[in-house]
Symmetry: C2
Subunit: 352 residues, 2 copies
DNA sequence: GTGAAAGCGCTAACAA
DNA sequence: TTGTTAGCGCTTTCAC
């Protein structure tokens, strides 16, 4: 043993030393190179030697040090997925889809959170434990568009989630504007005249809330229905925010006959408050969410929602990143918009 | 520049070289040590030198290589959280809580999935990209108890989720048996006589399903109500499994007046199928879940569920792991059971 | 089929 | 205040 491990006490019942390849080599009476060859299943190793090495490995409880391996290899086999919050169902479900796909390429997804803050996001890419990852999938919500252009990195990056930003990065977006337009148009087409819109802050240019609010406005324009600013409720994206938003409208006596929630989570919160107020869904108030999370179709009544193109989104992200990893840039950074599709369920009335 | 980078084409509009500390040192006319000192904000560096180094860094777009740093330091500052599936709300929400806590210790949580398979779990700990992490929080569901004892690692590990397993690892559990007992007892106390139990496979010894099934049996025994094996439905833990389970009972004409779902997700799936069948909740059928995920109190009707002690669980995991990281083992491996508590909501009738 | 040497990029320890 | 040396644990290259 070269040195005592982290818990180096003698008589420690747990493992107590850090075993290196050199230890194994010594114990097996071979060179580290041979140990390396055995571990990596490389061909030209004698059967007897291999046996001895394997015995020594299991004897000493050797484990490769991946930090060293990565330093040498220049790659880690892991893809980072940096999202605002780990607990948002949309991202959790996206992570699952991506993990399935990258697994087939021999890569593992690890998920971390940015806290939806500029600092957290920059941290994920620029100030860069980036070389920990062979690639990064970053959900940008707070980084300034201008800053994006400054970021310097060699590593493969795919951005997701926000609107078209002229940037040097591959970028996959959902069609926020059109999805919101579809949702709102359906509400208006089925008789709603006062559609409340809940979540986020639509005043931040290029943000998801502003894009979805734009689709909301477009639908109103197309239907010739005016938008009442009182129906725009700014709030965050947790369950409670949806409930609070509805309660705030009711308390202030602001009438509405439909709700467009910027995310399904907000919609679920809203449904709770509507039920508490004794309002019937969809007879008194229709509700549409956005994201089409798995839960949407299981709620009672089931939640109408905008499917942002889950499968296509995951496919696109995967192939862009894999292309970067394998081939380098194949021309200009790509910017792709995945079409969204309203899914009508029980919280809305059927179209005319 | 030492060598062309991963995408080394000339005229590439993106960054095209990997810049090392040595490059910066050369460009600034100092040694790598000085660069290192500047980057790490160490004190004894002349102001002028610092300026020159910083200029060179921003000039060349230098970024530290963390693989190298970690190799040197022997630590990474990251804590791995390995869970069966990234999209299960219970784990997503646990991850958020843990991330909050570890952040205050200057550590980041990254989340990866094991696929609930023995292989994935062993991969996370034994076959060891373990030294990628300063510590690992592992949700064990498929590893054989005996295997657990074989695992050799120096790294701090805290196991979560399953029952008491004699092992060399710190281990934090929810009180599966008592939580399930509380849930079932409440159903029986409020008039239910045929309680269906949905999810998992209770035949696997020491598994979460078997423990919760045990609590279910205990409550029946205490109430003097016999258990009908037909009411035990084995299924996985997705939304659809909950719906399918209910449909299967109804199709087979097996009567029941209450449902204990092994997880809230299964409960949500069950509620959907019950609604489809025109059954009223809780009048015709009462429902209780387990996990008390955030969504539970927002459903309509709100879902009664067993809170497995979320905050205490997160606190306990954090302090055990931090203790291991800082101090090594402070005696024998700890095994802690966090008390569970039934939360009564709208899917059950009030007690007494 | 096996090994020796060199070095991935960084930093602790010591020297100047 | 700054630089030199050495080496973290591994793998590539090339010699034997």
């Amino acid at each position: 043993m070269k040195r005592s491990g982290r818990w180096g006490g003698e008589g420690d019942k747990r493992a107590s030393t850090v075993v290196t390849m050199a230890d194994v080599a010594r114990s097996a009476g071979v060179s580290t190179m041979t140990v390396s060859n055995v571990i990596n299943g490389r061909p030209r190793v004698g059967a007897a030697t291999r046996e001895r090495v394997l015995a020594a490995i299991s004897d000493l409880g050797y484990q490769v040090n991946l930090a060293a391996r990565h330093l040498r290899a220049g790659r880690t086999g892991v893809i980072g997925l940096a999202v605002p919050e780990l607990e948002r169902p949309y991202f959790a479900q996206l992570a699952g889809r991506l993990a399935d796909r990258f697994e087939t390429h021999g890569l593992r997804i690890v998920m971390e959170r940015t806290g939806a803050s500029r600092e957290g996001e920059l941290d994920a890419v620029a100030f860069s434990r980036l070389r920990m990852y062979d690639g990064l999938i970053l959900s940008v919500v707070d980084i300034d568009p201008a800053e994006l252009t400054q970021i310097r990195t060699d590593a493969p990056v795919v951005m997701i989630g926000e609107r078209a930003l002229p940037s040097r990065f591959d970028h996959v977006m959902m069609d926020n504007v059109d999805g919101a337009r579809q949702a709102t148009a359906h509400l208006l087409a089925t008789g709603a005249r006062r559609v409340a819109i809940l979540g986020g802050n639509p005043d931040i240019t290029a943000s998801m809330p502003s894009l979805r609010a734009e689709g909301y406005a477009v639908a109103h324009r197309e239907a010739g229905v005016p938008v009442d600013p009182e129906l725009v409720v700014r709030c965050s994206f947790r369950l409670q925010d949806g409930s609070d938003a509805i309660r705030s409208l009711l308390d202030r006596g602001i009438g509405f006959d439909a709700v467009f929630a910027l995310t399904d989570v907000v919609a679920i919160g809203a449904l709770r408050a509507l039920a508490d107020a004794g309002l019937r869904i969809p007879d008194d108030v229709q509700v549409v969410g956005f994201d089409d999370i798995d839960e949407a179709s299981y709620l009672v009544p089931s939640l109408s929602s905008v499917n942002p193109g889950h499968e296509e989104m995951a496919d696109t992200i995967t192939s862009l990143l894999i292309a970067q990893i394998n081939g380098g840039p194949t021309g200009d950074p790509k910017e792709l918009i995945v079409p969204a599709q309203l899914v009508q369920r029980g919280t809305t009335r059927p179209a005319g």
